[in-house]
Assembly symmetry: C2
Homo-oligomer: 119 residues x 2
Amino acid sequence: MPFDPQSLRYDDKGLIPAIAQDHATGEVLMMAWMNAEAVARTLATGNVTYWSRSRQAFWVKGEVSGHVQRLVDFRVDCDRDCLLVLVDQTGPACHTNRRSCFYTAVRDGREIELMRPEA
Amino acid sequence: MPFDPQSLRYDDKGLIPAIAQDHATGEVLMMAWMNAEAVARTLATGNVTYWSRSRQAFWVKGEVSGHVQRLVDFRVDCDRDCLLVLVDQTGPACHTNRRSCFYTAVRDGREIELMRPEA
């Protein structure tokens, strides 16, 4: 079936959550948002492109930092309201310079930092 | 630092996205939503509990289907506006009876089904 970005289910702001996962290690790196045009650009260019809610602008991941995400596979969930992008991640995915944004665990009612920023 | 569910950043509907990942295989299984009380119940019971937007009710995953998610680890992202729950998933996570909700890939402009429903 041909894929049409408009066939996805976007929220009332026209956005859909996109989970980025390291294609090689399976590590979940981050979650950000796309609109239909960001989906189209991601598929067309192979450079994962989000919509920045804070800047209200397209956000080609790594364009400034160099920490690019090359698209390896693009997945749609059963409800067509969430995306999973398998990526080849250069450097840390998180703006804190950690590999993943999910570096805090909650264990026994306390927050624990699981990883440090990369040098 | 003690963890307080109220310290997370919820959207204008009081919800936060929660990604469920198989703790053993790394497979991303599904994404659903929690409110602060669902976060608290998940941590207190070890049974991953979402907020169903369609039913507007708590949704103890697997309560009806038996396809429960036992919490293995609970992670918070850098912006505190997304959760990652590592789970021990009994049976398929998807309501279509597939292991993961992300069973559709987009490749060369076409949709491809990657996995079949389990028997």
